[in-house]
Symmetry: C2
Subunit: 144 residues, 2 copies
């Protein structure tokens, strides 16, 4: 399993982004973290795509090392770990939403809630702001 970012192939910004998300799993984990607002290891494990526990662990580690998410113990349940997106992770939301829009346009079987798709098309920036504020809220709520 991959534990480090591969060496950069060029100084192109697209290539740079691919060094992080150019595989089958990283964006799935980020989707669950940011859009689905999952917080616990078990939640990610339950995704429809059936990610294996070792793959999930390696991706969480990679994303943490890349500064895309942070980990901390749940203050209430000491055995649980809470994953939260960082600013750098949240900043990938626009890219993800454009991919959602693209898929919704070309794949009829794609199962994004129509309301979400409409929001992304008409009111993307407000949706991004909402996700960001929810993330900030969750962080302060569980911290105190």
């Amino acid at each position: 399993m991959r534990q480090t970012t591969p060496p950069r192939r060029s100084d192109c910004p697209i290539s740079y982004a691919l060094d992080f998300v150019g595989d089958k799993w990283t964006l799935i984990v980020l989707r669950d973290l940011i859009i689905m607002r999952k917080q616990h290891f078990r939640d990610f494990l339950g995704a429809d795509e059936k990610i294996a526990s070792n793959i999930l662990a390696s991706r969480l580690k990679l994303l943490e090392a890349a500064g895309m998410l942070s980990r901390r113990r749940d203050p209430a349940h000491a055995r649980q770990v809470i994953y939260e997106p960082t600013e750098k992770g949240l900043d990938l939301l626009p890219s993800m939403l454009e991919l959602v829009r693209w898929s919704a346009k070309y794949d009829s079987r794609t199962a994004a809630p129509p309301a979400l798709v409409r929001r992304i098309a008409e009111d993307r920036d407000a949706y991004i702001a909402e996700i960001r504020s929810l993330a900030k809220e969750a962080k302060t709520a569980t911290r105190k």
Copy 2:
């Protein structure tokens, strides 16, 4: 080398997009096709990332099968083939630009021309329109 799209893992739109661009090379080829406006096999081969000819051929085939680009013979030079993005391919431009924006923000070494980065930040839609119109122009120009 991969010749067909892998079976879909779920009906999630992000997962669907990853079925196409969830690897290290496909988006690089699309970048060259759409943003760099490359048209010939040799142009793609010359990219900084040093793609191998068999990988390139498999990606071009895959993208054609997916309806993201079209191939045709150059009417002037019968031995040459011209690749052009389709509507479906061009529609990935917004996603690519968001990735460029993200990389430009977090990677100081990223080599997007500053003017391009600024345009994407301030005037993304106009840039997209420009690329689209250039693509359409090229198509009609070489067809007649």
